[in-house]
């Protein structure tokens, strides 16, 4: 018998048992306390395992990364801000940062805009579910798989020879010279973002479509009866009501574009000015053996994402307050 089966059994049966045991134990313990204190202490004790996990797997690594980012490549000596200075003074990393900003703007616009467009357009047609399934399908493909697929799409052969890439084959059939999609900057970064948009548009579409279905039909009906055109209905009623959802989806896309890695790693590995910070971080850590610099990049990435998260949390709170 595979020894892993035993381990699996312990995990599948043992872990829930231990948790239930913990909660029962906590209840036993609470009985010893005076009744007035019980409701105060209980939530904390119930939360304790989750908090412990959070500290061990989230807070501790974050703090350790912060510490590492101030140390040298062997994590021995404190080097102050040298790693950050490296990040903000090296052409390669600044280029990566710039590309990430392009990713952030373009991917968010393409994925959210495309998702919204599809969601609105297919909202009232018969083949809605088929159309949505097709758009949604790429999300089920792994990023590495998608990158490999698109490498075939973007493949380039010398002008005058048989074009094996889909896009250049199409261009060739109408007599246009092949384009080196992944070589020419800044076209190559755009090409990579298109791959990401191909994957994420489906995600945005599904969420936005669900929100669209939530808008009450009476509201739209009333507007139409009052003589509003379809465009006006969309601009003055649908869009404002979708706004909270769009904000959530856009936030997700912003974070996704800041974390962009797989597609770049597989398709260009950062060559020809397509570098992004996550790929740079990977290289510093795993290829160059520079944990300090990699940690500094991780912290910069975190610092970029935190405001977006905070904005999102605040919006959420405001909405809750209105309700």
């Amino acid at each position: 018998m595979d020894p892993r089966l035993g381990t699996a059994l312990v995990v599948v049966v043992g872990v829930p048992l231990a948790l239930i045991g913990y909660i029962l134990g906590v209840e036993q313990l609470l009985r010893a306390l005076p009744g007035r204190l019980q409701p105060r202490v209980r939530p904390w004790l119930w939360l304790l395992p989750a908090l412990a996990f959070l500290v061990v797997f989230l807070i501790y690594p974050t703090l350790y990364t912060l510490v590492l980012s101030f140390e040298d490549k062997f994590a021995r000596h404190f080097v102050g801000l040298a790693n950050y200075q490296y990040f903000f003074s090296t052409g390669d990393t600044i280029g990566a940062l710039r590309n990430n900003i392009v990713w952030l703007v373009l991917l968010t616009v393409l994925a959210v805009g495309g998702g919204l467009l599809v969601a609105v357009l297919v909202d009232r047609v018969r083949y809605e579910s088929v159309a949505k399934s097709i758009i949604f399908l790429p999300l089920a493909i792994s990023f590495v798989g998608a990158a490999v697929i698109w490498q075939f799409m973007f493949a380039y052969r010398p002008p005058g020879t048989f074009q094996t890439g889909t896009l250049n084959g199409l261009l060739g059939s109408v007599g246009v010279a092949p384009v080196p999609w992944l070589i020419d900057a800044p076209l190559n970064t755009v090409a990579l973002i298109v791959v990401a948009a191909w994957i994420w548009t489906g995600f945005c579409m599904v969420i936005l479509s669900a929100a669209l279905k939530g808008i009450s039909a009476e509201l739209l009906e009333a507007a139409r009866v009052d003589g509003a055109t379809e465009l006006q209905v969309f601009r003055r009623i649908t869009l404002p009501l979708l706004m909270p959802t769009i904000a959530v989806v856009a936030t997700t896309m912003v974070i996704t574009s800041l974390k962009a890695f797989d597609i770049v790693y597989v398709m260009t590995n950062g060559a020809f000015d397509t570098e992004v910070i996550a790929n740079r971080m990977y290289k510093e850590l795993f290829s160059f053996g520079q944990p300090g610099r990699a940690s500094a990049i991780a912290i910069v990435l975190l610092a970029l994402i935190v405001p977006v998260m905070l904005l999102n949390v605040r919006r959420f709170r405001d909405q809750e307050a209105i309700r």
């Binding site: 790693y265 290829s287 053996g289």
Partner: protein, 485 residues
């Protein structure tokens, strides 16, 4: 064992291996496994005492069993060939390398007799990103038993951190040194200990051509070569044939074939001393010697001289780079690549024996005539198991290396191997053996951050040669931080 242990577990392993080498193999194996598993479990907070306790336990369990098993000592006997050992060891050995496709087939063919003889299963995994796999492996302690190493520079780092095990008591040293070219033995040695061995070798900087197209013979100088290439290209009907074919794409390592070009120019224009300084990080990239090498390469990949133009160069895989030599009409006259490319010509380019031949890269500065650049596939041992030792011992033998050599595409690091399948590989082996000035692939010797930047620089320069100065300045910046602490 004077290695510097990074963590206690490394020191513990190597000590155990020397203390217990005489114990019967079965028990050694079992005790190793116990020890190894414990080692993983206690990796972080272990005390020296606990390790010492394990060592004692491992050794006592080894010596307390019947000595009859000792005769079946699984490590092959002095000759190193598996045939010499009567016993079956069994078990498995994990190997990671960069070979895929036909190279992977050749490696598997190479270890097949070993598997049959010893009953050890060789579990090979090929990866495109060896460096990342090994760096994470060294950090986490989860490593293959044997692995290909990216180059001597990385090897030395792994050896000094204690991750790589020295091979002095694994190999039959006198036999190994007698069989192997001294330059290769030196390259595999760290602090006086043999740490890496070469599975196969290659001569770099060979100029390949199709004898059905180019018949003007070996040029005497670089200028002569250029003139002959232009003349031959112009002579082909159709006017589309270019002097050169170049392919630089190679996944995460894209750009490396261009580094070979630069190295060939540096070695032949500026000489071995500048070359060595450059490898060691003491020669600025912006210096005239290195810049001249880039400019010479720039002539080769200029739109007028290279098949398909620079954009084709950077998108063509190195293995397919020479294929236009064999089309009708030919796309180019010459292809610059190491000796291993013959295998690609035949399997991916559709070329037959007799359709390709080579001459060595011509001398440029007569002062440095006869300089040759070589490379090889380094192999090291990360886990000291009887199976790993047996395979390591087997791989350096003439018997093993002759298998790959016989299948084509490889030169042997072992000088006893002579069964080269054709005149071409015989000639390249002779070049390797008779080099007046021998230098190892410079980029493979540089720190990884430098090497990676060098690859990128090749790609950037090929696409936009006007950026040369800023590219070289950037390389200088990286040089300043990539070397040393």
């Amino acid at each position: 064992m004077t290695e510097v242990p990074l963590g206690i577990e490394h020191g513990g392993y190597s000590q155990r291996s020397t203390l217990c080498t005489k114990s019967p193999v079965d028990d050694l194996e079992r005790s190793y496994r116990v020890n190894h598993r414990m080692g993983n479990g206690i990796r972080r907070g272990v005390t020296l005492l606990a390790v010492a306790g394990l060592l004692v336990a491992a050794c006592t369990s080894g010596t307390s069993t019947t000595p009859s098993a000792a005769s079946a000592t699984g490590v092959p006997a002095a000759s190193g060939s598996p045939a010499a050992s009567s016993g079956q060891i069994g078990g498995k050995v994990t190997v990671i390398g960069t070979w895929g496709g036909s190279e992977q087939d050749s490696f598997l063919a190479m270890v097949k007799p070993f598997e049959d003889q010893t009953g050890i299963k060789v579990e090979y995994t090929g990866t495109r990103d060896l460096n990342a796999v090994l760096t994470t492996g060294v950090a986490s302690g989860i490593l293959p038993d044997l692995a290909g190493l990216p180059g001597p520079g990385q090897m030395a780092e792994y050896a000094r951190s204690g991750a790589l095990k020295p091979l002095n008591d694994v190999l039959d040293l006198s036999q190994y040194k007698a069989d192997t070219a001294p330059a290769l033995v030196d390259l595999g040695t760290v602090d006086g200990k043999i740490t890496g061995v070469f599975i196969k070798a290659a001569v770099k900087g060979l100029i390949w051509y199709n004898p059905g197209v180019y018949t003007a013979g070996a040029p005497t100088s670089w200028d002569d070569l250029r003139a002959k290439a232009k003349a031959a290209a112009a002579a082909v009907a159709g006017g589309k044939t270019k002097p050169w074919c170049v392919g630089l794409e190679s996944g995460a390592a894209s750009g490396w074939p261009g580094t070979d070009w630069i190295e060939d120019f540096v070695l032949r224009q500026a000489g071995p001393d500048i070359y060595d300084k450059w490898v060691a990080g003491k020669q600025k990239w912006t210096s005239p010697e290195i810049k001249a090498a880039f400019q010479a390469f720039g002539q080769v990949v200029s739109p007028d001289d290279v098949y398909g133009g620079p954009k084709t160069v950077v998108t063509t895989n190195f293995g397919d780079g020479g294929n236009p030599l064999f089309t009708t009409p030919p796309g180019c006259i010459f292809h610059h690549q190491a000796s291993f490319i013959t295998d690609f010509f035949k399997k991916q380019g559709g070329a037959k024996d007799g359709q390709f031949d080579f001459f060595p890269f011509p001398d440029i500065n007569p002062q440095y005539a006869g300089a040759v650049e070589g490379a090889g596939d380094l192999f090291g041992m990360f886990n000291d198991t009887p199976q790993a030792r047996a395979l390591m011992k087997y791989l350096v033998t003439a018997e093993a290396q002759s298998i790959w050599v016989g299948r084509g595409g490889a030169l042997s690091a072992n000088t006893k191997v002579t069964n080269y399948p054709d005149a071409i590989s015989k000639r390249s082996a002779a070049i390797l053996a008779n080099a007046k000035i021998f230098r190892f692939d410079a980029s493979d010797l540089m720190p990884q951050a430098m090497n990676d930047a060098f690859w990128k620089a090749i790609l950037d320069y090929t696409v936009d040669p006007t950026k040369l100065d800023s590219i070289l300045t950037n390389l200088d910046t990286i040089q300043a931080s990539a070397y040393g602490g």
